[in-house]
Symmetry: C2
Subunit: 404 residues, 2 copies
């Protein structure tokens, strides 16, 4: 029994293969690399019943994760986030099986933690001592904190407008933080230069092959929590798109393992904001890649990504599952965020709120049927975006005053 | 098999008993009430092995929780928070078995959620439609959000200085929020008046008997995660003290159930801030109750409680377990918070940081031995206290600039 059944890396564009036992970034052809496992061996040696007694974190699936030696695992107990049934909201939306996978309930408070835990663990296994990355905030926070745990030095570059709290997370980790008066694409160029000049590890989205492995565990967990019964629709807020790519990869692997039915996949829905919708545009035009979205803007900062390096993989996931891509307005995002809190008691992030707004719209259009099983991904906590809540004037009482 | 084996409520001061099937607040003698169970029946019918296949939340212990009917359970997946081994920090502190129970990894981001989930569920079972409570922030946020889930109306009163983010949580839940230019004790008086005048449910700390039942699950979980082996020392940041009272109650129940050894209890340590240390003062003087602490002040807002209604129960827990009470300075809290982030990758709250500062001090004094098993309770996430991180000047780059 191996701890990991990793086999190698390969390129989804040109087919070139690479070893996971030395540092890899992009394929020579410029495409992201994907991790492959000896799934036939996993299938014969690891049964889903074994999960019953496994630890309560994403590492319960270590056979299909890339870390070869348990001792390199950097874990703060991340994963197995709640899958919450949303009865009150479902009733309002005429959906009898509405669920939320709540990625706010995880160390560092967003789904980015999954990628950081697995990515940093593998980097440690490979002897990496320094890394750099651009970020819209949450990923930088997660990678900086897990890098601290692993004793690595992290250089993080984020837009000036990224959520203020994520700066604090990076700062307290002891990482090297830089702000840029621009977008994540500008931060990416700065990182590209420092990586090239100083020869440090590039932890940018999909430029290192392992964060996607962490994120795919959202798919494994969701299916385990649904007792391996496939939902009809999964809605995902899509910036870089790694979460969606990861969930699609999980579905493919689970089918190969025989843990889920081979007949039907959930329809994957990429949710974007009207102010930054390159995937939606590409999907509407039936294209296999997206074009750079000029002057992008949305309060859902995590999905403010004008051009994703893995766009072709996201679009493949949508086409292959008969999914779709939808853009929602800022007003719809804000209204959905409030509605989820008032109806269900969850303070979710704007990105997560966008998926509920989309589910409601798709139900109205009958693209989703009333009795279908629908999972919305909330990618992080609302408290990391305090500015997303408009406070009306709150009265200030003096001691001894009364409420009427 | 019952869902709950609750028997009744009783008063730890005068011994009076009450029914849990109607609304109860304090005992007629003014003391908080405690919940009692038919533990002999639990012992014969429920084995700890049954937990293996239980759901991953505090409701896995429903036999020893007060909610009689599963349908009243208001759950967002709270509980089974990580118990993280702290190797790097332990080495610095000369502690070979240092753990953190991380209560940040829970809906609403603090341990207060446990009390809210169980308290609101029982209130719903009893038909409560309106409640009011004073709060230092986190409890109000948790109760407001769970009240929204239960369809109840909540009135929340918090000090003007309470963490700003917790206001946002209360606001988005749709609850009725009031600020007071004073301390939680001032907020408490305002709540007392509105409760009396309008006949609504008083959800103030220990004035409703059920939040302690939610909080005791920290003790159950910790022991389960340690494979039912008792740690030597548990350090708890102590404001109202309900967490410590709850953990002590859990230990007593677990001993009665025969799930832990009857011979030895962990030494319980109440951690306070130098600017608000009524329990420390009472313990140093060997008293059984504390006195009101004038002009209290600390950045660890959750433990800014000048006089706790359950102080006598906290002190009993310290005396009975041969524990102690310690006050730490603001500088020590701040340093410990940074050290935990840099060494271990956890961004914890100031209250949690106080327990690490205390553990270090007690180790230096050899009150804790190097090989003892020590659990520090981090009661919430650091991100809810962004002002606790001092940011040095961070350089702002223009697009195209370089990092050197």
């Amino acid at each position: 029994m191996s701890y990991s059944y990793i086999s190698h890396l390969d390129c989804p564009k040109c087919g070139e293969t690479y070893s996971d036992q030395e540092v890899q970034q992009l394929c020579e052809c410029g495409s992201p690399l994907l991790v492959r496992y000896r799934l036939d061996e996993v299938k014969s040696q690891f049964k889903k019943e074994h999960l019953l007694t496994r630890e309560n974190s994403l590492w319960r699936y270590h056979e299909v994760l890339p870390v070869r030696d348990d001792k390199n695992r950097m874990s703060l107990g991340e994963g197995m986030t709640p899958l919450v049934k949303m009865n009150a909201l479902g009733e309002k939306m005429d959906l009898s099986h509405l669920y939320m996978k709540d990625e706010g309930i995880i160390p560092t408070g967003s789904f980015k933690t999954r990628g950081a835990s697995v990515g940093i663990s593998k980097a440690k296994e490979l002897g990496v001592e320094r890394l750099a990355m651009p970020t819209n905030g949450n990923a930088g926070a997660a990678w900086a904190l897990y890098a601290a745990r692993a004793g690595m030095k992290a250089t993080i570059v984020m837009p000036l407008d990224a959520p203020n709290i994520t700066r604090k997370e990076v700062a307290i980790s002891g990482a090297d933080l830089h702000l840029v008066n621009g977008l994540i694409s500008d931060a990416g160029k700065i990182v590209g230069k420092v990586v090239k000049d100083q020869g440090i590890y590039d932890a940018s989205t999909l430029k290192e092959p392992y964060r996607i492995e962490g994120k795919k565990t959202m798919g494994y967990e969701m299916l385990e929590q649904l007792n391996w019964k496939i939902p009809d629709v999964i809605l995902y807020p899509t910036g870089g798109g790694v979460g969606l790519i990861g969930i699609y990869k999980a579905l493919l692997e689970l089918r190969e393992l025989g843990w889920i039915s081979a007949e039907k996949f959930p329809r994957l829905v990429a949710v974007q904001a009207e102010g930054c919708a390159p995937i939606v545009k590409a999907w509407e035009e039936g294209k296999s890649e997206s074009a750079f979205w000029e002057n992008s803007k949305t309060s859902a900062f995590g999905i403010n990504v004008p051009k994703a390096i893995g766009d072709f993989l996201v679009l493949e996931g949508l086409y292959k599952t008969e999914g779709c891509a939808v853009a929602v307005s800022e007003a719809e995002i804000s209204r959905a965020q409030k509605e989820v809190a008032e109806s269900e008691g969850n303070f979710i992030c704007p990105e997560g709120a966008a998926t509920f707004a989309t589910a409601e719209m798709l139900r109205r259009q009958d693209w989703i049927k009333a009795e279908e099983k629908v999972v919305c991904l909330n990618t992080g906590q609302g408290v990391k975006y305090p500015e997303s809540v408009d406070m009306e004037d709150v009265s200030v009482l003096e001691p001894g005053e009364e409420i009427f």
